[in-house]
Assembly symmetry: D2
Homo-oligomer: 256 residues x 4
């Protein structure tokens, strides 16, 4: 049995290239690529799952999913990719109700994933040095209605962390080693530290800093994702592949 | 400020090789590898984060995390690895409160991840053909107190799915193509189908079956994880690496 | 002690982007990208290893190497990449004096490698269905003076192989399975068959065909190459990476 | 038409697990794993390509190939793998008649490949600090009759290189940066330097040393090889995969 778009719904419009546009049916107007100004209210009453044509473009009308949120996110800074965000969730034990700190916020990509998983009983605190990044990320979060779960601070994480008893601290900054001590202090016992770094030298300095504190389970890895092209004429891996994003390092707080 | 183990807590004991043993402080006796019979009640009053010696083995006493649950899980069947479970979470939009079906249950590894993420407001329904697998997996789930979130059924998913309006259906069976039609019917509009298959021919048959139904965003990929060894003498990738686990295929339900 | 370009030399000009242009000093005129018409004879007397400026472009003057031949090759068809050509050399036991058949010739990329390694005591026979490919490849081979080692035939390898006692047969055609029987007959005892195929289904059909004949050591693999970027600010893998070229299958002829 | 083993032949015996044993038919006795003492002369007259049973083991009788030489090589030190040796051949322009220096010799694995490719008109000079490694490697080379192409020296390559006008210098030592200057001086103009190092810090120091001299085309990469298992029930990548061997760095000598 299908349902219809109701006043107040957040709606995904998905085009044929899998681009996602998230619209709030309470808004009078919005605009999106290839369509221009548009009234989201006109979506009310449409059947979810069916297509909807506006101008000469066709879109599927769907409830909003986490992949939609990530795909519709407007980028300002380099983002943490889904493959790496997924590993962070699992290896940092991010589950509903958890209280997480991340620094920096970037475009809010990892923030979106963290907020979606900790949910309304959880909390994501996000530090960034740059006010413009915070403003941009908050705009992205508001569009997906995840902003109530997130608290942002224009603050340098290497200068200290205000929060205590955090379940995880995730550092995506150029010098994570300078924040490792603060992270240790801010974490609850058994909480997880994660750092994301593109360079080997960053990993080395970070691991060295982590080893100065009572952490266990220190581990660094990289993940590679390769698309498989399945066509009538046959199956093969995609020629196109990302060679590198960043190394993930994990550690868990214990006491001396 | 540290906290102490309280009567009723579920506790992780982590040894120097990162093995995790999950113990219920309400239990009179339990036993685990290298220790033998042991009274979990004796953990009450210990400080979380500190070590505890039993016999000649030393363990860190920690609150239970999702990685602990996965590491302590007793294997009977081949499991879905954390790297693949992580991708399933993200690409199927598994968030708190979602209602998910998986088939088969195997040892309950993916079930553990799904149940941890959907939480107590969510639901995981797990089908398996084999009663012994279900019993074994439920034992694993009971140990980590995730069993209330999971409903198991001794049932062949290729014969039909009882549930409706599911947010995701995840198939880890030898012939996922035979369940694709049932999955389509059981999914809510906008819900995700995921299949996990080691063989290319399985992927091909599955993608072909998916294309017979109104699904969008059909995508197959593989992920590879490589450990990085960071030592005083220098950094290098690990010589040891898993060459393959399975291909993940994703698709999202729309209407004709 | 350095040497100078002598009348009759084949010379490589290498620009700052590592592009290679191979010029014959006996030629009156030649032309190349970004320079236009140019007299190779004017290179005579220049010191090898030093730069030479023509127009506003600077080039290193060097003796011709195998990598230069490959980099200067003009492409018409898809080429076999150096990483795969290198594996073919080693796993087919291509050494000086060997007699090799390849089909098809494509742009002559693999032909260039094979001819360089078998040398003037060896022989490369190259079949292709298309006269235009052969003409184009021969032009490439003449430019690098490798043409005396190569015999080309406008011929369909799936219709039969004229030669006998070949040390290796290398098939880069869409349907290698149709030539496996001919390859078996044309190979010397202990000779190697190699097929290069982008699709899994091609590999499957080829391996099945190979198994119909007395071959041992049947093995298929893929190779991946990832550049490492070493910069002052740190080292990391390149973001840019080719996800796939083709699968290589090898087998060695024995008798029943 | 098949040929028979003749007095004086070097013969490969290949068992069902693809192990290769190289035997000299002029030798009175030899011994090999699973067979024990054996007279190679008894092979004379056997038909190449057919099987031969000794004790309860069956072997294919074949002419010796480069893969056989590598597979039969007795290991004392860590070896350079075929995938890396193949890349060295191509990227260092190793072709018949070339004069190459390598350091160290290890078990003679790369030496075997280099000697096979440069052939009897070429020359491989191999330095090693350790007399025992040289003796062991020479024993391996004698067995495959490649020893006439190779000159060994018990000598520290970081203390200087005697030879001049080398076509390539290949360094597989813990501190290649200390030999880069000597390699530059020993190379002919247009000659190639290659270093093989497992650690990132080694690569960084080496690249820095290379940049102190007039080299062009400086490039570092790693290669990964993944077996594909083709079986009746379907095709998949092998679970077993080597995660890392070493990074290869290449550079080409020019003049200031």
């Amino acid at each position: 049995m299908s349902t219809k778009v109701t006043q107040g719904d957040l709606v995904s419009l998905i085009d044929e290239n899998e681009n996602a546009y998230i619209l709030d049916t309470t808004a009078q107007t919005d605009h999106f690529k290839g369509v221009g100004v548009f009234s989201p209210q006109s979506l009310v009453g449409l059947e979810y799952g069916k297509t909807f044509t506006v101008g000469n473009k066709e879109f599927y009308v769907l409830p909003v999913s986490l992949p939609d949120c990530l795909r519709s996110l407007k980028r300002k800074a380099q983002i943490i990719l889904p493959k790496d965000a997924a590993d962070i969730i699992l290896h940092c034990s991010i589950t509903p109700g958890k209280k997480i700190l991340e620094a920096g916020i970037g475009s809010g990509s990892l923030t979106t994933v963290l907020a979606s998983i900790v949910g309304h009983e959880g909390k994501v605190i996000s530090y960034d040095l740059r006010e413009d990044f915070i403003k941009h990320a908050v705009k992205n979060l508001k569009r997906t209605h995840l902003d109530p779960v997130v608290t942002t601070k224009e603050k340098d994480v290497t200068q200290g962390i205000d929060e205590k008893d955090l379940d995880a601290v995730i550092l995506d900054i150029p010098n994570p080693w300078d924040a490792v001590g603060h992270a240790y202090n801010a974490l609850a016992v058994g909480g997880y530290l994660c750092t994301y770094s593109p360079l080997i030298s960053q990993v080395e300095k970070t691991v060295e800093a982590i080893q100065q504190h009572p952490f266990i389970g220190i581990r660094t890895f990289e993940s590679l994702e390769r698309d498989i092209v399945v066509k009538k004429q046959g199956t093969r891996p995609s020629f196109s592949m990302l060679g590198h994003s960043g190394y993930l390092t994990f550690a868990r707080k214990v006491l001396k």
